[in-house]
C-alpha cells in the first residue's frame, strides 16, 4: 500500500513538474515562429501598406501558446508556419495569416472586438492579449464549447464565446471597433457591417481552409461610408519587369 502511495506521489510530482515545464518546452519554437513571420512580413510590407507589424501583435503571437489550441496529435507541428486541422472539418489558420489579419485591425487596448467563427479559440486568444473585450461566436457547438473551456483554462477571462449563428453578429454588445470573420461566406453579412463602429475595421480572409487567397479589409469611415481593400498577403506583381 505504502509502495503504491509513494509511486502515486512521484507520479503527481512528475506530472506537475511536466505541467510547469510544458510552456518552456515550446517557448523557443514560438519565438522562432514569430521571427519567421517577421522576416516574411518584411517582404510583404509594400502589399500591406505598412513597414512592419505592430510590436504588440508580435508580442501577442509570442505569448499565446498555440500548442494548447491544436489537437494532441498535431502539437509537434503547432509552431510550424502552416494551417492545421482541428477536427470538425475546421482548421487553425497559418500563424503568418493570423499575425497579418490581427495587425490589419489596428487595435487599441480599449477596443471591443467581435470574432465570427471561434474555431480553436487561438485567434480570440491573440485578440484578448491586445484589447479589453473579445466576443466570439462559433456555430459548431462542440468546437465552440471546447474553445470556451480552453480559453477559460488559459485564463483569457476577457473573451466571451457564444454558440450560434454569426450572421447577425452580437447585437447586445454592438457596435464593435473591429470585427474579424474567420471564414468568408457568399457575402459579407449586412448586419455585421451595421455593427461596425464608424472608424472601425473588419477583416475577412478569402479562400479555402488551407489556403488564404486574399484578405479583405472593410473600413467604415467616420461618416459611415464603406470601402474595402483587397490585399494579397504575398509579394507578387502581376506584370514582369518591363512594365
Amino acid at each position: 500500500m505504502m509502495h503504491y502511495f509513494i509511486s502515486l506521489l512521484i507520479l503527481i510530482a512528475a506530472s506537475s513538474f511536466a505541467l510547469a515545464e510544458a510552456p518552456d518546452a515550446y517557448f523557443d519554437a514560438r519565438q522562432r515562429m514569430v521571427s519567421e513571420i517577421v522576416d516574411d512580413v518584411v517582404e510583404t510590407a509594400s502589399q500591406l501598406g505598412r513597414e512592419r507589424l505592430n510590436p504588440r501583435v508580435l508580442d501577442a503571437m509570442k505569448s499565446v501558446k498555440r500548442h494548447e489550441f491544436v489537437p494532441p496529435e498535431n502539437r509537434k507541428r503547432a509552431y510550424k508556419n502552416r494551417p492545421l486541422p482541428i477536427g470538425h472539418g475546421q482548421t487553425i489558420s497559418q500563424p503568418y495569416m493570423v499575425a497579418i489579419m490581427t495587425d490589419l485591425l489596428d487595435l487599441d487596448p480599449g477596443d471591443k472586438v467581435l470574432e465570427v467563427g471561434a474555431g480553436s479559440g487561438y485567434q480570440a486568444a491573440i485578440l484578448a492579449e491586445l484589447v479589453d473585450r473579445v466576443y466570439s461566436i462559433e456555430i459548431i457547438a462542440p468546437l465552440g464549447k471546447e474553445a470556451a473551456q480552453r480559453l477559460k483554462r488559459l485564463n483569457y477571462d476577457n473573451v466571451d464565446v457564444r454558440i450560434g449563428d454569426g450572421y447577425y453578429g452580437w447585437k447586445e454588445q454592438a457596435p464593435f471597433d473591429a470585427i474579424i470573420v474567420t471564414a468568408a461566406g457568399s457575402h459579407i453579412p449586412p448586419p455585421l457591417i451595421k455593427q461596425l463602429k464608424p472608424g472601425g475595421r473588419m477583416v475577412v480572409p478569402v479562400g479555402s481552409r488551407f489556403m488564404t487567397q486574399e484578405l479583405l479589409l472593410v473600413e467604415k469611415n467616420d461618416a459611415g461610408d464603406i470601402t474595402t481593400r483587397q490585399l494579397l498577403p504575398v509579394i507578387f506583381v502581376p506584370l514582369t519587369g518591363s512594365h
Binding site: D40, E43, T44, S46, Q47, G49, N81, R82, P83, P85, H88, G89, Q94, Y96, M97, I139, I140, A141, D165, Y167, G185, S186, H187, I188, P189, P190, I193, K194, G207, S208, R209, F210, M211, T212, Q213, E214, L216, V218, I226, T227, T228, R229, Q230, L231, L232, P233, V234, I235, F236, V237, P238, L239, T240, S242, H243
Partner: protein
C-alpha cells in the same frame, strides 16, 4: 474448347465492360468524396495497372500460362472482389487533398491510393493479356470482344448511373465480374477453374453486400460536409446522374443565404433557400418565392444587375440558369420574355416538381421559357435575337480561384462562343458575363481580351466604345454592347456603381482617377489592364502578364488555364509566405500526373526486359524489341489522342460533354472491335504487315479530312435533332475506328507467330502508352489545340507503320 469459344468471348466482353465501367464509376466516386482534379490524377495512375499486368505476366509467364484456366478465371474473380474492396479501403485513408502542399505525409497516402486502385486493373488487364497470349492464333477475335465489351461498358454505366446511386453501381460491377467468372469457368471446362470460381463466390457476394451497405466518406473539407455541421441542416433528397450526384439540403435553423457578390451597401438578406450540392460541392440554391417581389431586391444589388438599369429590356436569355437566381433577377425587373437554359435536367425537374411551390413555380411561369440544353448548343440552334444575353456565374468560387478548372474544357467563353452571342443580340443589345474576382486578375481580363478580339474581328473600329467593366470585391461583370454605349448609359453605369459601392474598371471615356475607389486594390489593376488590352500594345501586355490571358478558342477550349511556367520559381519561393494560392493547381496536377506516369511506365516497361533476357524466354525470339516498343507505344498514344480529340470536337456538335463522351467512346470501341475482328482474316492470309500499312494510310487520310471538316461545322448540321447528330457522328467514326482497331491485333498476332513471349510485354507497353496519352492529350491541347493533337496522332501512326515489328531470320536483338 471450340464449341465453348463463344462463352470465352462473352466472358472477355463482360470483363471489359466491367473494367471500363469501373473506371468511369471511379471518376464519379472520387469526384464525390474528393475533388475532380485529384480523381483525375488517382484514376490515371491506377490505370497503369494495365501496364503493370503486362509486366507481371511477362515475369511469371511460365507459371501463369501453364495454369491458364486457373489464372484466367482467378484474374476475373479477383478483379470483381478487389474493385469493390480497393475502393472501400481507399476511401478510409486519411488523405486530405487540401494539405498536399503542406504535409509531407499526404503524397504518401496518395501513392497508396494509386497502388490500391491499380490492383483491380492489374487483375482485369492481366486476364485479358493471358487470354491474348494463350490463344495467340485468334488474337483478332479476342481483342475484338475486349473492345466491344469496353464500348458497351461506357454506355451501360452511364445508363446505370441515371437509375442507381454510385455505390449501387459499384455493386453492379462486382456482379458483372462474378458473371464473367462463371462464364469463364463454363468456357474453359476445367475442374480447377470451377474450383476457383466456387471459392470466389462467397467473397464476391460479401463485397457486393458491402458495396450496397456502404456510404461515401466525403472529405470533411468539402462544402457539403462543412454545411452539414451547421445545426438543423440535413440532406432531404438525393439524385444520381452521370453528370453528378445532387444532394438537396435544407437548413431549418440557420438559413442558407447565398447571394454571391452582394453589395456591401445592401441591407436585406435573401429569402429562405434550399441548397443543391453537386458532388458534395459547387452549391447553388433554390430561393423561396412567397409572392413578395421585394424579397428579391437583393438580386438587384449585385454586379450582374447592371444591364437591367440601362434601359427597358424585352427579351432576355439566361445561359446556365441553375436554381433560378438569374431568372428571378430578370423577373424582378419585369422582363416580359425570359428564356432560361440549363444543362442539368435534374435541377430543372426539382424546380418543376418537388420545389415548384417553394420556388413560386418559377420554371412554369408564362414569362419564363426553360430549355434543358447546353448553352452553346441552344444558342447556335436559336434564330432569335435578344436584348440581353446573360452568362451566369456557374462554377463555384473556391475551385475557380484555386485554378482547379484549368483542365476543364469550356465552350462558353471561347472566341467562337462570343461571336455567336454577339450575333444573337438585338441592335443595342447587351452580352453580360459575370465572373469571380481573382487576384491578381485573371478570368475577367481574359474575358475582356476575348470580347476585344471578337469585336475587332467583326470589323468594329473602336471596341472600347462597346465595353463596360464593373467590379465589386467578389464579382465582376463585363458588358459588351451591340453598338456604342451612349452617354446616358454611361451615366447610369456610374450611378449604379456609386449607389452600390462597386467600381468602374472600364467605360468609354473613363479617367484613371475614377478607378479603384470603393474596393481598393494596391494598384488599379483592372483599369490599367483594360487600358492596356484596348491599346496598341495588347500583345506586349499579354506577354508581360504573369498569367495566360490569351482568349480560348473552340480548338483550345481552356478558358480557365492561366498558368505560365515562367512564374513557377517565383511562386515556389513564396511558399509559406502566402504565395501558394497563386499556383494554378489544375495544370500542375496534370503535369505531375504525367511525370509520375512516365516514371512508372519506364519501370513497367524496362523491368520485364530483365526477365526476358533470362533463361528460356530468350530462345525463340526473332523480333527486334525496340520495334515492339516503338510500335506499341506509338499506337497506344495515337489511338487515345484521336479518341479524346473526337470527344472534345463532338461535344460542340452534340451539345453535351456526356453525350459526346458516350457516343464517341462507344462508337470508337465498337467499330475498332469490328476492325480487330476483320484483322483476324488478314492474319490468316498472312497479310499482317500490309494490313497495318493500309490501315494507317486510311487513318491518316480520314483524320486529316475530318480535321478540315471540323474547322467549319455547317450550321445546318448543328440544328439537326440530337439523335440524327449522334447517328451522324457514329457514321463518321465508323470507318476511322474500324481501321484504328487493326494495328494492335495485327502486330500482336504477328508476335504470336514469331515471339509469343513478347505478347504480354507489348500489351503492357500499350497499356502504359494509353495512360500517358490521355494525360498528354489534354496538356497538348491546352497549348496547341486539338488539331495539333490529331496531327500528332497521325504522325505516330505513320511512325508505327514504319517500325512494324517484322520477324527477321537473324538472331534476336
Amino acid at each position: 474448347m471450340k464449341h465453348h469459344q463463344h462463352l470465352l468471348f462473352v466472358s472477355i466482353a463482360l470483363l471489359s465492360l466491367a473494367a471500363l465501367g469501373y473506371e468511369i464509376l471511379l471518376m464519379r466516386l472520387f469526384s464525390i468524396i474528393q475533388w475532380h482534379h485529384f480523381a483525375y490524377m488517382i484514376i490515371s495512375l491506377a490505370l497503369l495497372g494495365y501496364g503493370a499486368s503486362g509486366a507481371v505476366i511477362t515475369i511469371f509467364q511460365k507459371q501463369l500460362k501453364s495454369h491458364f484456366a486457373v489464372s484466367y478465371t482467378a484474374g476475373i474473380a479477383l478483379f470483381g472482389i478487389s474493385a469493390i474492396g480497393s475502393f472501400l479501403l481507399v476511401q478510409q485513408l486519411p488523405f486530405n487533398a487540401e494539405e498536399v502542399l503542406w504535409d509531407w505525409r499526404q503524397p504518401g497516402w496518395l501513392l497508396l491510393m494509386y497502388l490500391l486502385l491499380a490492383i483491380p486493373f492489374v487483375f482485369a488487364a492481366g486476364a485479358i493479356a493471358l487470354a491474348l497470349s494463350h490463344y495467340s492464333d485468334i488474337i483478332g477475335k479476342i481483342y475484338a470482344y475486349d473492345l466491344i465489351g469496353a464500348g458497351l461498358g461506357g454506355v451501360c454505366i452511364i445508363l446505370l448511373l441515371f437509375v442507381f446511386m454510385p455505390f449501387e453501381v459499384l455493386a453492379w460491377i462486382g456482379l458483372f465480374a462474378l458473371l464473367a467468372t462463371l462464364l469463364a469457368a463454363m468456357a474453359l471446362h476445367s475442374t480447377a477453374a470451377w474450383r476457383v470460381t466456387l471459392l470466389s463466390i462467397p467473397p464476391a457476394i460479401a463485397m457486393i453486400w458491402l458495396a450496397l451497405h456502404s456510404t461515401a466518406v466525403i472529405s470533411p473539407y468539402k462544402e457539403l460536409s462543412q454545411t452539414l455541421r451547421i445545426p438543423g441542416t440535413e440532406i432531404v433528397a438525393r439524385r444520381s446522374s452521370p453528370l453528378g450526384l445532387l444532394d438537396i439540403v435544407e437548413s431549418r435553423q440557420t438559413p442558407f443565404r447565398h447571394a454571391p457578390g452582394l453589395s456591401l451597401k445592401a441591407d436585406g438578406e435573401p429569402p429562405p433557400q434550399v441548397g443543391i450540392f453537386t458532388d458534395g460541392g459547387n452549391m447553388s440554391v433554390i430561393t423561396r418565392d412567397g409572392g413578395n417581389a421585394e424579397a428579391f431586391a437583393y438580386l438587384d444589388q449585385i454586379t450582374s444587375a447592371l444591364p437591367y438599369h440601362l434601359r427597358k429590356l424585352q427579351q432576355v436569355l439566361i445561359l446556365g440558369a441553375g436554381g433560378g437566381a438569374d431568372v428571378q433577377q430578370a423577373r424582378y425587373h419585369q422582363i416580359p420574355q425570359i428564356t432560361a437554359v440549363e444543362l442539368n435536367p435534374q435541377i430543372v425537374k426539382l424546380l418543376r416538381g418537388d420545389y415548384a411551390k417553394f420556388s413560386g413555380h418559377l420554371y412554369q411561369q408564362s414569362d419564363v421559357d426553360v430549355h434543358i440544353n447546353e448553352a452553346r448548343g441552344f444558342i447556335s440552334d436559336s434564330s432569335q435575337q435578344y436584348d440581353l444575353i446573360q452568362v451566369a456565374l456557374m462554377d463555384a468560387f473556391g475551385a475557380s480561384t484555386a485554378g482547379l478548372y484549368a483542365l476543364n474544357e469550356s465552350y462558353l467563353y471561347t472566341l467562337e462562343a462570343f461571336k455567336t452571342y454577339l450575333q444573337h443580340l438585338q441592335p443595342s443589345g447587351y452580352l453580360s458575363v459575370s465572373r469571380w474576382i481573382k487576384l491578381p486578375p485573371r478570368d475577367t481580363l481574359k474575358l475582356m481580351a476575348t470580347a476585344i478580339s471578337v469585336l475587332k474581328e467583326s470589323g468594329v473600329d473602336h471596341p472600347a466604345q462597346q465595353l463596360v467593366l464593373i467590379r465589386g470585391w467578389q464579382t465582376s461583370t463585363l458588358l459588351v454592347k451591340n453598338g456604342a454605349f451612349t452617354s446616358s448609359e454611361i451615366d447610369t453605369v456610374k450611378a449604379f456603381c456609386k449607389t452600390l459601392g462597386f467600381d468602374v474598371a472600364w467605360y468609354p471615356g473613363m479617367q484613371a482617377t475614377e478607378a479603384n475607389r470603393f474596393n481598393q486594390l494596391r494598384q488599379p489593376w483592372f483599369y490599367r489592364s483594360a487600358v492596356a488590352l484596348l491599346g496598341d500594345e495588347t500583345q506586349q501586355f499579354m506577354d508581360d502578364y504573369k498569367f495566360d490571358l490569351r482568349p480560348s478558342t473552340d480548338d483550345r477550349p481552356y478558358f480557365f488555364h492561366f498558368f505560365k511556367w515562367i512564374i513557377l520559381p517565383e511562386i515556389l519561393s513564396l511558399q509559406g509566405k502566402g504565395g501558394m494560392p497563386l499556383l494554378e493547381q489544375g495544370y500542375l496536377i496534370s503535369v505531375s500526373t504525367l511525370l509520375q506516369a512516365l516514371f512508372a511506365s519506364l519501370l513497367l516497361i524496362i523491368l520485364p526486359l530483365l526477365f526476358l533476357n533470362r533463361g528460356g524466354l530468350r530462345t525463340q525470339q526473332t523480333i527486334r524489341r525496340s520495334s515492339v516498343l516503338i510500335y506499341f507505344f506509338a499506337i497506344g498514344l495515337a489511338f487515345l489522342f484521336i479518341e479524346i480529340a473526337f470527344i472534345q470536337k463532338m461535344s460542340l456538335l452534340l451539345h453535351h460533354p456526356l453525350y459526346s463522351a458516350a457516343t464517341v467512346m462507344t462508337g470508337f470501341l465498337i467499330f475498332a472491335g469490328l476492325g480487330s475482328l476483320y484483322s483476324q482474316r488478314l492474319v490468316e492470309q498472312d497479310h499482317a504487315h500490309q494490313g497495318v500499312v493500309i490501315a494507317v494510310g486510311g487513318i491518316a487520310v480520314l483524320s486529316i479530312a475530318y480535321l478540315l471538316f471540323f474547322k467549319s461545322l455547317p450550321d445546318t448540321l448543328l440544328s439537326l435533332p440530337l439523335a440524327v447528330k449522334m447517328l451522324f457522328v457514329i457514321i463518321m467514326i465508323a470507318p476511322l475506328a474500324f481501321m484504328m482497331g487493326m494495328p494492335f491485333p495485327l502486330a500482336l498476332s504477328h508476335l504470336g507467330q514469331h515471339a509469343q513471349q513478347l505478347i504480354p510485354w507489348a500489351w503492357g507497353i500499350n497499356g502504359c502508352a494509353s495512360v500517358i496519352s490521355a494525360i498528354l492529350a489534354t496538356l497538348l491541347a491546352i497549348h496547341g489545340g486539338f488539331s495539333m493533337v490529331v496531327t500528332l496522332a497521325v504522325l505516330l501512326y505513320l511512325l508505327a507503320a514504319l517500325s512494324f515489328p517484322l520477324a527477321t531470320s537473324g538472331k534476336n536483338r
